[in-house]
Protein backbone atom coordinates (compact mmCIF):
# COMPACT_ATOMS: atom_id res chain seq x y z
CA UNK A 1 0.00 0.00 0.00
CA UNK A 2 1.42 3.31 -1.04
CA UNK A 3 0.65 5.74 1.72
CA UNK A 4 1.03 9.33 0.77
CA UNK A 5 3.67 11.34 2.63
CA UNK A 6 2.28 14.73 1.76
CA UNK A 7 0.77 16.90 4.47
CA UNK A 8 -2.96 17.48 4.45
CA UNK A 9 -2.58 21.07 3.36
CA UNK A 10 -0.40 20.00 0.42
CA UNK A 11 -3.07 17.51 -0.57
CA UNK A 12 -5.78 20.17 -0.55
CA UNK A 13 -3.61 22.53 -2.59
CA UNK A 14 -2.76 19.75 -5.02
CA UNK A 15 -6.44 19.23 -5.78
CA UNK A 16 -7.14 22.94 -6.06
CA UNK A 17 -4.37 23.88 -8.46
CA UNK A 18 -1.85 21.44 -9.87
CA UNK A 19 -4.41 18.68 -10.43
CA UNK A 20 -7.46 20.86 -10.96
CA UNK A 21 -10.20 18.64 -12.35
CA UNK A 22 -11.41 20.90 -15.13
CA UNK A 23 -8.44 22.95 -16.27
CA UNK A 24 -5.63 20.49 -15.68
CA UNK A 25 -7.00 16.96 -15.89
CA UNK A 26 -9.80 17.90 -18.30
CA UNK A 27 -12.22 15.36 -16.89
CA UNK A 28 -15.80 15.82 -15.66
CA UNK A 29 -16.28 18.50 -18.26
CA UNK A 30 -20.00 18.13 -18.83
CA UNK A 31 -21.24 20.26 -15.92
CA UNK A 32 -18.49 22.83 -16.44
CA UNK A 33 -20.42 23.94 -19.50
CA UNK A 34 -23.93 22.80 -18.76
CA UNK A 35 -24.57 24.54 -15.45
CA UNK A 36 -22.26 27.54 -15.61
CA UNK A 37 -24.69 29.91 -17.31
CA UNK A 38 -25.29 31.66 -14.00
CA UNK A 39 -23.17 32.08 -10.88
CA UNK A 40 -25.89 30.60 -8.68
CA UNK A 41 -26.10 27.35 -10.68
CA UNK A 42 -22.32 27.00 -10.79
CA UNK A 43 -22.10 27.62 -7.05
CA UNK A 44 -24.75 24.99 -6.20
CA UNK A 45 -23.12 22.41 -8.46
CA UNK A 46 -19.73 23.10 -6.88
CA UNK A 47 -21.10 22.62 -3.37
CA UNK A 48 -22.77 19.34 -4.38
CA UNK A 49 -19.52 18.03 -5.81
CA UNK A 50 -17.47 19.02 -2.74
CA UNK A 51 -19.94 17.08 -0.58
CA UNK A 52 -19.99 13.96 -2.74
CA UNK A 53 -16.25 13.87 -3.34
CA UNK A 54 -15.36 14.27 0.33
CA UNK A 55 -17.92 11.77 1.59
CA UNK A 56 -16.99 9.18 -1.05
CA UNK A 57 -13.31 9.47 -0.19
CA UNK A 58 -14.12 9.21 3.53
CA UNK A 59 -16.32 6.13 3.08
CA UNK A 60 -14.04 4.31 0.68
CA UNK A 61 -11.07 4.95 2.92
CA UNK A 62 -12.97 3.64 5.96
CA UNK A 63 -13.96 0.39 4.28
CA UNK A 64 -10.79 -0.05 2.21
CA UNK A 65 -9.61 -3.08 4.15
CA UNK A 66 -12.86 -4.95 3.57
CA UNK A 67 -13.10 -4.42 -0.18
CA UNK A 68 -12.14 -7.33 -2.35
CA UNK A 69 -10.07 -5.78 -5.17
CA UNK A 70 -11.94 -7.82 -7.78
CA UNK A 71 -15.30 -6.24 -7.09
CA UNK A 72 -14.10 -2.78 -6.12
CA UNK A 73 -15.68 -1.04 -9.12
CA UNK A 74 -19.30 -1.96 -8.31
CA UNK A 75 -18.66 -1.09 -4.67
CA UNK A 76 -17.34 2.36 -5.54
CA UNK A 77 -20.31 2.87 -7.85
CA UNK A 78 -22.74 2.00 -5.07
CA UNK A 79 -21.05 4.34 -2.59
CA UNK A 80 -21.05 7.19 -5.09
CA UNK A 81 -24.64 6.57 -6.17
CA UNK A 82 -25.74 6.55 -2.53
CA UNK A 83 -24.27 9.97 -1.79
CA UNK A 84 -25.52 11.40 -5.06
CA UNK A 85 -29.03 10.27 -4.20
CA UNK A 86 -28.71 12.03 -0.83
CA UNK A 87 -27.65 15.34 -2.36
CA UNK A 88 -30.20 14.95 -5.17
CA UNK A 89 -33.11 14.53 -2.79
CA UNK A 90 -31.88 17.23 -0.40
CA UNK A 91 -31.62 19.75 -3.21
CA UNK A 92 -35.02 18.75 -4.58
CA UNK A 93 -36.45 19.51 -1.15
CA UNK A 94 -34.60 22.69 -0.19
CA UNK A 95 -33.50 24.40 -3.38
CA UNK A 96 -36.44 23.93 -5.71
CA UNK A 97 -35.75 26.71 -8.29
CA UNK A 98 -32.10 25.78 -8.74
CA UNK A 99 -32.89 22.09 -8.80
CA UNK A 100 -35.33 22.57 -11.65
CA UNK A 101 -32.51 23.88 -13.81
CA UNK A 102 -29.62 21.65 -12.83
CA UNK A 103 -31.32 18.57 -11.38
CA UNK A 104 -30.34 16.27 -14.22
CA UNK A 105 -26.70 17.25 -13.88
CA UNK A 106 -26.78 16.67 -10.12
CA UNK A 107 -27.98 13.12 -10.75
CA UNK A 108 -25.23 12.66 -13.29
CA UNK A 109 -22.53 13.32 -10.69
CA UNK A 110 -22.69 9.52 -10.45
CA UNK A 111 -20.88 9.25 -13.75
CA UNK A 112 -18.16 11.75 -12.86
CA UNK A 113 -14.78 10.40 -13.80
CA UNK A 114 -13.05 12.59 -11.23
CA UNK A 115 -14.91 11.20 -8.22
CA UNK A 116 -14.41 7.64 -9.31
CA UNK A 117 -10.76 8.28 -10.11
CA UNK A 118 -9.99 9.73 -6.68
CA UNK A 119 -11.60 6.75 -4.95
CA UNK A 120 -9.60 4.36 -7.12
CA UNK A 121 -6.28 6.22 -7.11
CA UNK A 122 -6.23 7.72 -3.65
CA UNK A 123 -8.85 6.82 -1.05
CA UNK A 124 -8.54 3.08 -1.40
CA UNK A 125 -4.82 3.22 -0.58
CA UNK A 126 -4.71 5.87 2.11
CA UNK A 127 -5.82 6.50 5.67
CA UNK A 128 -8.96 8.43 6.48
CA UNK A 129 -7.65 11.93 7.21
CA UNK A 130 -5.48 12.30 4.08
CA UNK A 131 -8.37 10.92 2.05
CA UNK A 132 -10.71 13.59 3.38
CA UNK A 133 -8.11 16.24 2.61
CA UNK A 134 -7.71 14.92 -0.91
CA UNK A 135 -11.46 14.85 -1.46
CA UNK A 136 -11.85 18.37 -0.11
CA UNK A 137 -9.05 19.64 -2.31
CA UNK A 138 -10.46 18.04 -5.44
CA UNK A 139 -13.95 19.28 -4.60
CA UNK A 140 -12.75 22.83 -3.96
CA UNK A 141 -10.73 22.78 -7.15
CA UNK A 142 -13.85 21.86 -9.10
CA UNK A 143 -15.84 24.47 -7.18
CA UNK A 144 -13.32 27.22 -8.05
CA UNK A 145 -13.37 26.26 -11.71
CA UNK A 146 -17.18 26.43 -11.74
CA UNK A 147 -17.13 29.83 -10.04
CA UNK A 148 -14.59 31.27 -12.48
CA UNK A 149 -16.42 30.02 -15.57
CA UNK A 150 -19.89 31.01 -14.40
CA UNK A 151 -18.64 34.41 -13.19
CA UNK A 152 -17.49 35.34 -16.68
CA UNK A 153 -20.43 33.79 -18.45
CA UNK A 154 -23.09 35.48 -16.33
CA UNK A 155 -21.28 38.83 -16.30
CA UNK A 156 -20.77 38.87 -20.07
CA UNK A 157 -23.93 37.09 -21.08
CA UNK A 158 -26.51 38.77 -18.85
CA UNK A 159 -24.60 41.70 -17.39
CA UNK A 160 -25.47 40.51 -13.91
CA UNK A 161 -23.98 38.53 -11.03
CA UNK A 162 -26.05 36.21 -8.81
CA UNK A 163 -29.14 37.62 -10.52
CA UNK A 164 -28.29 41.24 -9.66
CA UNK A 165 -27.72 43.58 -12.59
CA UNK A 166 -24.18 44.99 -12.66
CA UNK A 167 -23.60 46.32 -16.15
CA UNK A 168 -26.23 48.05 -18.22
CA UNK A 169 -26.36 47.96 -22.00
CA UNK A 170 -26.51 45.12 -24.45
CA UNK A 171 -24.96 41.95 -23.04
CA UNK A 172 -23.17 39.42 -25.23
CA UNK A 173 -26.04 36.98 -25.55
CA UNK A 174 -23.75 34.34 -27.00
CA UNK A 175 -22.02 33.77 -23.67
CA UNK A 176 -25.08 32.22 -22.04
CA UNK A 177 -25.93 30.20 -25.13
CA UNK A 178 -24.50 26.68 -25.30
CA UNK A 179 -21.74 27.80 -27.65
CA UNK A 180 -20.55 30.43 -25.17
CA UNK A 181 -19.80 27.74 -22.62
CA UNK A 182 -17.40 26.02 -24.97
CA UNK A 183 -15.75 29.35 -25.82
CA UNK A 184 -15.40 30.33 -22.15
CA UNK A 185 -13.81 27.03 -21.13
CA UNK A 186 -11.51 26.98 -24.16
CA UNK A 187 -10.29 30.51 -23.64
CA UNK A 188 -9.81 30.06 -19.88
CA UNK A 189 -7.90 26.84 -20.46
CA UNK A 190 -5.66 28.58 -22.98
CA UNK A 191 -5.14 31.41 -20.50
CA UNK A 192 -4.07 29.04 -17.72
CA UNK A 193 -1.69 27.26 -20.10
CA UNK A 194 -0.19 30.61 -21.03
CA UNK A 195 0.24 31.57 -17.35
CA UNK A 196 1.89 28.23 -16.67
CA UNK A 197 4.35 28.77 -19.48
CA UNK A 198 5.12 32.27 -18.18
CA UNK A 199 5.75 31.03 -14.63
CA UNK A 200 7.93 28.18 -15.87
CA UNK A 201 9.93 30.58 -18.04
CA UNK A 202 10.47 32.93 -15.10
CA UNK A 203 11.65 30.04 -12.94
CA UNK A 204 14.27 28.89 -15.43
CA UNK A 205 15.35 32.51 -15.90
CA UNK A 206 15.81 32.90 -12.14
CA UNK A 207 17.83 29.69 -11.97
CA UNK A 208 20.23 30.67 -14.73
CA UNK A 209 21.05 34.09 -13.27
Amino acid sequence: MAHTDKSNWELIKNGMFSENTIFRMAISLCPSIAVTNSLKNGFSMGIAVIFVQTMVNLTVSLIRNFINPKIRIPIFMLVIAGYVSIIDMSMAAWARPVYKQIGLYIQLIVAFASIFARAEVFAVKNRVVPSIADGLGMGIGFFLAMIVISFFRELLGKGSLWGMPIVSGNPLLIMILPAGGFFAVGILMGFFNWMDARIAARKTAAETT
Binding site: L104, V110, P178, G186
Partner: protein
Protein backbone atom coordinates in the same frame (compact mmCIF):
# COMPACT_ATOMS: atom_id res chain seq x y z
CA UNK B 1 -48.22 3.00 -32.64
CA UNK B 2 -47.79 6.40 -34.11
CA UNK B 3 -44.81 6.23 -36.43
CA UNK B 4 -44.65 9.96 -37.01
CA UNK B 5 -44.18 10.66 -33.31
CA UNK B 6 -41.29 8.19 -33.10
CA UNK B 7 -39.57 9.73 -36.10
CA UNK B 8 -39.94 13.17 -34.56
CA UNK B 9 -38.37 11.90 -31.37
CA UNK B 10 -35.36 10.54 -33.24
CA UNK B 11 -34.86 13.80 -35.13
CA UNK B 12 -35.38 15.90 -32.01
CA UNK B 13 -32.93 13.88 -29.93
CA UNK B 14 -30.25 13.73 -32.60
CA UNK B 15 -30.32 17.22 -34.11
CA UNK B 16 -32.30 19.71 -32.06
CA UNK B 17 -31.39 18.54 -28.59
CA UNK B 18 -28.07 17.06 -29.63
CA UNK B 19 -26.56 15.69 -26.45
CA UNK B 20 -23.11 17.07 -27.01
CA UNK B 21 -23.91 20.53 -28.30
CA UNK B 22 -27.06 21.53 -26.47
CA UNK B 23 -27.14 19.37 -23.36
CA UNK B 24 -23.37 19.08 -22.89
CA UNK B 25 -23.24 15.48 -21.89
CA UNK B 26 -20.56 12.94 -22.65
CA UNK B 27 -17.96 15.62 -23.13
CA UNK B 28 -15.13 13.59 -21.60
CA UNK B 29 -15.48 10.91 -24.24
CA UNK B 30 -16.30 13.47 -26.90
CA UNK B 31 -12.95 15.21 -26.40
CA UNK B 32 -11.14 12.01 -25.52
CA UNK B 33 -11.79 9.89 -28.60
CA UNK B 34 -12.28 12.51 -31.30
CA UNK B 35 -8.61 12.73 -32.20
CA UNK B 36 -8.78 10.11 -34.93
CA UNK B 37 -11.53 9.25 -37.38
CA UNK B 38 -11.15 5.50 -36.92
CA UNK B 39 -11.63 5.49 -33.16
CA UNK B 40 -14.47 7.97 -33.50
CA UNK B 41 -16.36 5.65 -35.83
CA UNK B 42 -15.77 2.60 -33.61
CA UNK B 43 -16.95 4.52 -30.58
CA UNK B 44 -20.06 5.78 -32.35
CA UNK B 45 -21.20 2.28 -33.35
CA UNK B 46 -20.66 0.82 -29.88
CA UNK B 47 -22.24 3.81 -28.26
CA UNK B 48 -25.46 3.81 -30.28
CA UNK B 49 -25.96 0.08 -29.75
CA UNK B 50 -25.41 0.28 -25.99
CA UNK B 51 -27.67 3.31 -25.75
CA UNK B 52 -30.69 1.68 -27.43
CA UNK B 53 -30.38 -1.56 -25.47
CA UNK B 54 -29.83 0.08 -22.11
CA UNK B 55 -32.77 2.41 -22.73
CA UNK B 56 -34.97 -0.64 -23.37
CA UNK B 57 -33.64 -2.60 -20.36
CA UNK B 58 -34.05 0.21 -17.90
CA UNK B 59 -37.54 1.00 -19.21
CA UNK B 60 -38.63 -2.57 -18.44
CA UNK B 61 -37.08 -2.50 -14.98
CA UNK B 62 -38.51 0.93 -14.22
CA UNK B 63 -42.02 0.08 -15.37
CA UNK B 64 -42.43 -3.46 -14.06
CA UNK B 65 -40.23 -3.53 -10.95
CA UNK B 66 -39.64 -0.05 -9.63
CA UNK B 67 -43.06 1.53 -10.16
CA UNK B 68 -45.07 -1.33 -8.56
CA UNK B 69 -42.67 -1.51 -5.61
CA UNK B 70 -42.71 2.29 -5.26
CA UNK B 71 -38.92 2.55 -5.17
CA UNK B 72 -38.46 5.16 -7.89
CA UNK B 73 -36.23 7.19 -5.55
CA UNK B 74 -33.57 4.51 -6.07
CA UNK B 75 -33.49 5.08 -9.81
CA UNK B 76 -29.96 6.50 -9.96
CA UNK B 77 -28.50 3.46 -8.21
CA UNK B 78 -30.62 0.97 -10.15
CA UNK B 79 -29.92 2.48 -13.58
CA UNK B 80 -26.18 2.64 -13.07
CA UNK B 81 -26.32 -0.96 -11.87
CA UNK B 82 -28.25 -2.09 -14.96
CA UNK B 83 -25.86 -0.33 -17.31
CA UNK B 84 -22.73 -1.58 -15.58
CA UNK B 85 -24.06 -5.14 -15.56
CA UNK B 86 -25.16 -4.96 -19.20
CA UNK B 87 -21.85 -3.52 -20.41
CA UNK B 88 -19.90 -6.09 -18.43
CA UNK B 89 -21.91 -8.97 -19.85
CA UNK B 90 -21.77 -7.60 -23.39
CA UNK B 91 -18.02 -7.45 -22.94
CA UNK B 92 -17.81 -11.09 -21.87
CA UNK B 93 -20.22 -12.37 -24.54
CA UNK B 94 -18.45 -10.48 -27.29
CA UNK B 95 -15.10 -11.88 -26.21
CA UNK B 96 -16.45 -15.44 -26.52
CA UNK B 97 -18.67 -15.10 -29.58
CA UNK B 98 -16.75 -12.73 -31.79
CA UNK B 99 -13.14 -12.11 -30.77
CA UNK B 100 -12.47 -10.08 -33.92
CA UNK B 101 -15.22 -7.61 -33.08
CA UNK B 102 -14.08 -7.60 -29.48
CA UNK B 103 -10.57 -6.48 -30.37
CA UNK B 104 -12.02 -3.70 -32.47
CA UNK B 105 -14.67 -2.37 -30.12
CA UNK B 106 -13.86 -3.88 -26.72
CA UNK B 107 -11.91 -0.93 -25.36
CA UNK B 108 -14.78 1.42 -26.08
CA UNK B 109 -17.16 -0.79 -24.15
CA UNK B 110 -15.03 -0.45 -21.04
CA UNK B 111 -15.05 3.33 -21.36
CA UNK B 112 -18.79 3.54 -21.77
CA UNK B 113 -19.87 2.54 -18.27
CA UNK B 114 -18.86 5.83 -16.75
CA UNK B 115 -20.36 7.93 -19.49
CA UNK B 116 -23.04 10.38 -18.55
CA UNK B 117 -25.12 10.14 -21.73
CA UNK B 118 -25.76 6.46 -21.24
CA UNK B 119 -27.11 7.22 -17.78
CA UNK B 120 -28.92 10.37 -18.85
CA UNK B 121 -31.07 8.57 -21.40
CA UNK B 122 -32.87 6.28 -18.89
CA UNK B 123 -33.16 9.16 -16.43
CA UNK B 124 -34.79 11.43 -19.01
CA UNK B 125 -36.98 8.58 -20.28
CA UNK B 126 -38.35 7.88 -16.84
CA UNK B 127 -38.75 11.59 -16.12
CA UNK B 128 -40.73 12.22 -19.31
CA UNK B 129 -42.77 9.05 -18.96
CA UNK B 130 -42.01 7.76 -22.48
CA UNK B 131 -43.50 4.47 -23.65
CA UNK B 132 -41.32 1.48 -24.56
CA UNK B 133 -40.95 2.35 -28.24
CA UNK B 134 -40.56 6.03 -27.49
CA UNK B 135 -37.77 5.24 -25.03
CA UNK B 136 -35.96 3.18 -27.63
CA UNK B 137 -36.32 5.85 -30.31
CA UNK B 138 -35.06 8.45 -27.88
CA UNK B 139 -32.05 6.23 -27.19
CA UNK B 140 -31.47 5.72 -30.92
CA UNK B 141 -31.75 9.43 -31.67
CA UNK B 142 -29.37 10.32 -28.87
CA UNK B 143 -26.88 7.73 -30.06
CA UNK B 144 -27.04 8.97 -33.65
CA UNK B 145 -26.67 12.55 -32.50
CA UNK B 146 -23.59 11.66 -30.49
CA UNK B 147 -22.16 9.73 -33.44
CA UNK B 148 -22.74 12.69 -35.75
CA UNK B 149 -21.03 15.09 -33.35
CA UNK B 150 -18.11 12.72 -32.84
CA UNK B 151 -17.51 12.17 -36.54
CA UNK B 152 -17.70 15.88 -37.41
CA UNK B 153 -15.34 16.72 -34.56
CA UNK B 154 -12.85 13.99 -35.47
CA UNK B 155 -12.63 15.12 -39.07
CA UNK B 156 -12.01 18.71 -37.99
CA UNK B 157 -9.40 17.72 -35.45
CA UNK B 158 -7.47 15.65 -37.98
CA UNK B 159 -7.15 18.80 -40.06
CA UNK B 160 -6.29 20.91 -37.00
CA UNK B 161 -3.17 18.81 -36.44
CA UNK B 162 -1.63 20.59 -39.42
CA UNK B 163 -2.69 24.10 -38.44
CA UNK B 164 -0.44 26.66 -36.83
CA UNK B 165 -2.12 27.33 -33.49
CA UNK B 166 -0.72 29.65 -30.77
CA UNK B 167 1.12 27.48 -28.24
CA UNK B 168 -1.14 27.90 -25.18
CA UNK B 169 -4.19 26.93 -27.23
CA UNK B 170 -2.80 23.72 -28.66
CA UNK B 171 -4.67 20.54 -27.82
CA UNK B 172 -7.80 20.86 -25.72
CA UNK B 173 -8.43 24.63 -25.67
CA UNK B 174 -8.71 24.90 -29.44
CA UNK B 175 -10.96 21.83 -29.51
CA UNK B 176 -13.28 23.59 -27.11
CA UNK B 177 -13.46 26.62 -29.33
CA UNK B 178 -14.15 24.45 -32.37
CA UNK B 179 -16.90 22.71 -30.39
CA UNK B 180 -18.30 26.15 -29.58
CA UNK B 181 -18.51 27.02 -33.27
CA UNK B 182 -20.19 23.69 -33.99
CA UNK B 183 -22.65 24.33 -31.18
CA UNK B 184 -23.51 27.66 -32.80
CA UNK B 185 -24.20 25.82 -36.03
CA UNK B 186 -26.40 23.33 -34.22
CA UNK B 187 -28.52 26.09 -32.67
CA UNK B 188 -29.70 26.59 -36.25
CA UNK B 189 -31.69 23.35 -35.91
CA UNK B 190 -33.80 24.66 -33.03
CA UNK B 191 -37.37 25.20 -34.09
CA UNK B 192 -37.12 22.54 -36.82
CA UNK B 193 -39.79 20.50 -35.07
CA UNK B 194 -41.94 21.54 -32.16
CA UNK B 195 -42.97 18.54 -30.13
Amino acid sequence: MDFEKLFQLVIAASLINNFVFTRFLGLCIFFGVSKKMETAVGMSITFTAVMVISAALSWVVFKYIMLPLDITFLKIIVFIGIIAAFVQSADTIMKKVSPALYYKLGIYLALITTNCIILAVPLINSGEGYSFLESMSFGLGSGLGFALALVIMASIREKLELADIPAPFRGLPISFIVAGLLALAFTGFSGLITL
